[in-house]
Symmetry: C2
Subunit: 365 residues, 2 copies
């Protein structure tokens, strides 16, 4: 088994990455709870319709090995579930299930379930235990690690939330075999991101592993997930609450990407697809500004394309995209800060050069 | 000026207790922000209709000395304001006001405003700065110190929330002169509580200061508020997140009190009145169980009564009260834990002796 430690002082936790890990959840948790002296007799699994249909019974059976009482709540799949209304209904559900400070919330699903269930745990009875069991590639390599949890308001994504670290994360790469192809490919955008922002050898490895990645080769998947978790854990350790600026590099492609998601509607592009397009826009801007060489964009475009990701921003709505980018959370004292690549394996935080270069960066040549 | 330091490592903060402190808010904050290198250009004051009518202009004027932009949001007065609907509307309001991670929320009001605005700050953009300006005695001596923030669900009080420490607390005892008499007297219940649970000399001081307390003598008020803040700060330091059990002693009278509030409806008794009755029930139970002497109850009853607080539990609904107490958050492994006084200045956490003694303790002799 691969274990990555997220080192955050009293909030430290392990990430277990193991083939068929769902079937070993009980023993993994039993050991963790006894080591950390965590008393928790009540489990509440939060999952979505799609994931629950495949994995709920197996997970509940395993949790019965460590909890006296195991309940589950199923929410609709999709980003709309990260709403105040859904959160309120989950709060009430926890009360109905007689949850208390010793209850543990399990997030069984992708990023939406992890974010929602994580904030549920952060805010119920002033914060209860929480375990992430991410079932999408995106959640396994990114959103389940680092403690960012929350919901959306109609006017702003992820604006309500907390930093709330889980007791542990259990990742079973096998679940990716039942993941929808488009979701799987979308998750690869974040995988490529890690290579570009901080790990040249990992980017090279990805370039050399395309066939294995597309075939979901088990050992390739395990290696990729483990490396991404290690990289994310290092950044989160350096900047748990996003105060030093270090954590901002994880947002490579995201200022463009969030604008693309919001302007084109959340249905048209998945998060990963929008990030893929966004990374290419950011790379194009870096080249325009003389910060990076053309080769960087060429290699990044080739890798994303071969993995099946879109890289071109639709030709319409560029003005709206530019406007949406200005509403980004990384605006500091009125200046938008962009994460731009300098070379494969290194990015920097750069103040926006203004409207014209940004509009140009949206155009593909 | 009196300053009490709440010592919580990186989350430490000062409580400023000063006559006419509201008029000096700007300079107090200016010094704090420059010492702690806090950058915050945007202030959002949350207040209720009653308090805002008297103090909003003065506070906003002071905040303009330290922030570029000062906004305010007024909520209805009363416990019903601690609702999901109100919280949602405040989240949206913060977005409309273009709040970001550098915004600071000011809670200008009593416990309801402090709890609601505190959780707003804890949950917006994963947690932003927060300053408490408590205007009721209850909030000044208790709820504004210690970081407990949250809202109610219809089925459970304070069940949604967080531990979120403020940047500072500014207490102006003069505001108590405009507080409704019943609210002022209610706050005295928590003041008496501190004497009983942990400070014999303070209880003696209260016994000897009744006329000054009733007359709201400024130096008596300052002394009382300061001492209560010191006592609460010591407990919060020892048990910030209510994990060791130490913080539980603050709930003296509260298991009975919460049941009284809930069974008789939140309109009939104020929180302080219910706590006053609850403390007398708890003292009666301690005597029944042979844990305390009759003198304790006699002195406690005399002090509470002379301060104008009720001490007798209404004769009906005792069965409902007993049931409601079993739903208390201090149930551990199915056993209700009660905070019972041993002598003036000392309480202990005792497992419930069962239904009959509890029912007896509800009856006055």
């Amino acid at each position: 088994m691969n274990v990555v430690h997220v080192d955050l002082g009293s909030r430290s936790y392990p990430i277990h990455i193991e083939q068929n890990g769902l079937a070993k959840l009980g023993p993994i948790l039993k050991k963790l709870f006894s080591t950390n002296r965590i008393q928790t007799n009540h489990a509440v699994i939060v999952s979505d319709e799609n994931v629950a249909g495949i994995y709920l019974t197996q997970v509940a059976d395993q949790l019965e090995l460590v909890h006296d009482k195991v309940d589950s709540v199923i929410v609709p799949a999709g980003e709309k579930t990260k709403s105040v209304a859904q959160l309120e209904s989950l709060w009430q559900k926890l009360v109905e299930l007689e949850s208390d400070r010793k209850s543990t919330v399990y997030a069984l699903g992708g990023g939406v379930v992890g974010d929602l269930a994580g904030f549920l745990a952060a805010s119920f009875a002033r914060g209860i235990s929480f375990v992430q069991i991410p079932t999408s590639l995106l959640a396994q390599v990114d959103s389940s690690v680092g403690g960012k949890v929350g919901i959306n308001l109609p006017a702003a994504k992820n604006i309500v939330g907390a930093f709330w670290q889980p007791e542990c994360v259990v990742i079973d790469p096998n679940v990716l075999l039942t993941l929808e192809e488009r979701e799987y490919v979308s998750g690869l955008a974040e995988v490529v991101k890690y290579g570009v922002i901080m790990d040249t050898p990992f980017f090279n490895y990805l370039e050399n592993s395309i066939a294995n990645i597309k075939a979901k080769d088990p050992s390739t998947l395990s290696h990729i997930i483990k490396r991404c978790c290690e990289l994310k854990a290092a950044i989160v350790k350096a900047d748990e609450h996003e105060t030093s600026g270090r954590r901002a590099i994880l947002n490579y492609g995201h200022t463009y990407g969030h604008a693309i998601e919001s302007v084109f509607g959340y249905g048209r592009f998945t998060h990963g697809e929008a990030i893929s397009i966004g990374m290419n826009c950011a790379a194009r801007l870096a080249i325009q500004l003389g910060l990076a060489e053309q080769e960087l964009l060429t290699r990044q475009t080739a890798l994303l394309t071969e993995l099946g990701l879109p890289v071109e921003c639709p030709a319409d709505k560029h003005v709206e995209l530019n406007k949406a980018m200005k509403r980004d959370k990384k605006v500091q004292n009125g200046v938008l800060m962009l994460v731009l690549p300098i070379k494969i394996g290194h990015v920097e935080l750069v103040p926006s050069p203004g409207e014209t270069p940004i509009l140009e960066s949206l155009h593909c040549e």
